[in-house]
């Protein structure tokens, strides 16, 4: 099969690539380069004087206990959200793939949360779990749970994890369902005749065949947790109480926008960028090998 494309003119391929390259340059490379430059600068709070300080911002960053707390919060948060979003959506997709009647309605309803903006999703969950007004919070109190995400760091983290996972489930669900539907029915039937009970069929046939989808979603979900959950955290907890829900990306915002420390904030975002690039590279290097395409 011919995989390489040939173009008549020399300019056409560049012209076709240009829009995408332009977007990537304007919205990724330029800001990234600016961040790197900014991270070597020290500015006073009013932006009057700027001084080039080499790695001082980084030194300060790595001697800050709050930064290490943000790293561990991010680690816990991302593992919880990714595991919850992937496993719940897989479970729902398997059920949707099985169910016959009303499957269309079920799918449509499941897809809605994806259309909800992160901040709105955050506010929605906040309303439900607001200690004094929230319907579900009152229910929890009724059962004797001392629920207060404003004061209890565990409660606050659970709430943002719940909201963040809920929003990502629909996206994962769509991909898992498409993946499940692309597995020929006769494979499952062959496995049934081959003596595999439903659970074994799932783990030995269905899941391995879903692994490319799962791998893709894992990467996407981790990037989502690192960056896109900002809106949810901002709406629900503002990173509190006492930094219990301050993830790396929220700390970038908090220190730079609220704290006025532009250099330190830029240094943080450079480190964050390095972490995400490293994580993605590790995923492709080690997990992709185990994936069956």
């Amino acid at each position: 099969m011919q995989k390489r494309s040939y173009f008549a003119g020399r300019m056409l391929p560049y012209a076709l690539l240009a829009p995408q390259l332009l977007v990537t340059i304007v919205f990724f490379y330029v800001p990234a380069a600016q961040a790197v430059w900014q991270s070597f600068l020290l500015q006073d709070a009013f932006g009057i004087s700027t001084e080039f300080v080499w790695f001082e911002n980084y030194q300060l960053l790595f001697s800050d206990a709050a930064y290490y707390q943000a790293i561990s919060v991010t680690a816990v948060f991302s593992v919880l959200v990714t595991v919850a979003a992937l496993s719940i959506s897989l479970l729902l997709a398997v059920q949707a793939d099985k169910s016959l009647r009303g499957a269309g309605v079920y799918k449509t309803l499941l897809i809605w949360p994806y259309a909800v903006a992160p901040v709105v999703a955050g506010v929605l969950w906040l309303f439900m779990f607001q200690p004094s007004l929230g319907t579900l919070a009152r229910g929890l109190r009724h059962f004797g749970v001392d629920w207060n995400p404003y004061l209890n760091s565990g409660d606050a983290l659970s709430l943002v994890v719940l909201a963040a996972a809920w929003k990502q489930i629909s996206y994962n669900f769509l991909f898992f369902l498409a993946g499940l539907q692309s597995i020929p029915k006769s494979l499952i039937e062959a496995a049934a005749i081959d003596g595999a009970r439903p659970a074994r069929r799932f783990w030995t046939i269905v899941f391995p065949l879903l692994s490319p989808t799962a791998f893709y979603l894992l990467t996407v979900n981790i990037v989502y947790v690192f960056f896109d959950t900002f809106g949810i955290i901002h709406a629900v907890t503002h990173g509190g109480p006492a930094g219990a829900t301050t993830t790396l990306v929220y700390k970038v915002f908090n220190d730079g926008r609220a704290g006025g420390d532009l250099g330190g904030s830029a240094a943080q975002s450079v480190v964050l960028m390095a972490i995400v690039i490293a994580l993605t590279a590790v995923q492709f290097r080690f997990i992709e090998r185990k994936v069956n395409y």
Binding site: P184, S186, L187, E189, A190, A191, A192, I193, D194, G195, A196, R197, R200, T204, I205, P208, L209, N292
Partner: protein, 360 residues
Amino acid sequence: MAEVRLTSVGKIYSGAVPAVKDITFSVPDGGFCVLVGPSGCGKSTLLRMIAGLETITMGEIRISDRVVNTVEPMDRDIAMVFQNYALYPHMSVYDNMAYGLRNRKTPEPEISARVAEAARILELEPYLERRPRELSGGQRQRVAMGRAIVRQPQVFLFDEPLSNLDAKLRGAMRVEIKKLQRQLGVTSIYVTHDQLEAMTLADQLVVMNQGVVEQIGEPLSLYERPETVFVAQFIGAPPMNMIDLAPGGGGPKGLDGSSELPVPASGARLGIRPEHLVVDEDGRPVPTRPGDIRLELAVDAVEAVGAETYIHGRLGGDGLMITAREHGKMLLPPGTSRVFTARRENLHLFDAATGRRVDI
């Protein structure tokens, strides 16, 4: 080894017309039964009911005297070869064949012995470590067979296993399947829409149409004595010529001798196989006996394929298209008119109202 017995088996999908109606037949131990019919006739549904992949809404299916109506597919002791082979794409050829045995907790040394034996029989030894996508269509087909063999089941079920192969390979695999089945002596039920495949493989042929069995029997007896118009036209290629006769025995223009036939009051359909039409050589008419039929055909097209020649002509000059099959080369110029003779013993007569055979 097992006998498969179906008694008044039927299948109705919720609210719809029955897919399969009142089917009764049995396949003896070691027999090779082929279910054949046009697409949508219910043959695949019936096979899947025997496999346990479709529920049985009426009647009873027994495998070696055990009623299996509600038995899970895995507990029916059957193996099935699917049309698209249904190989597990993420497993090697070896693992594909070993999967069913591992699920049944067969000891690993026995698994490797059985897989090695199957690989030897099917000439798959060089490919055991490969993935299915690295194999050709014919090799995949053999892996699917191997997966069935290693299980040593009581019954093999085949669901159009050759329809994804090209014509040449299909012919070769057909011979292999037949040989293998003889060798292993496992009761087999095979579904196909290809009447040639059906004729060559079957000990017992079950012709199905619109969810019912038209006729059951040995392939040649179905060919020589079809009980219905459907079977007569479905078995044999090119298909049997069918000429409508009026109640008195009067036929269309160009047909001679039909008034001698016992045509029922509702009229009849006269069937003549192409190879039973003998053409008059130049100026030397075929000697006829009482009861023979003579047809006058205006030659429309001639297809010479070497060993034989197909002559397509219109009855009585511009009537029904009739096909005759002659030995050797016979290059009749199109437009010429010829007389063809069919012997009385080679004629098939069917009641026009019921479609059933009428004895001549």
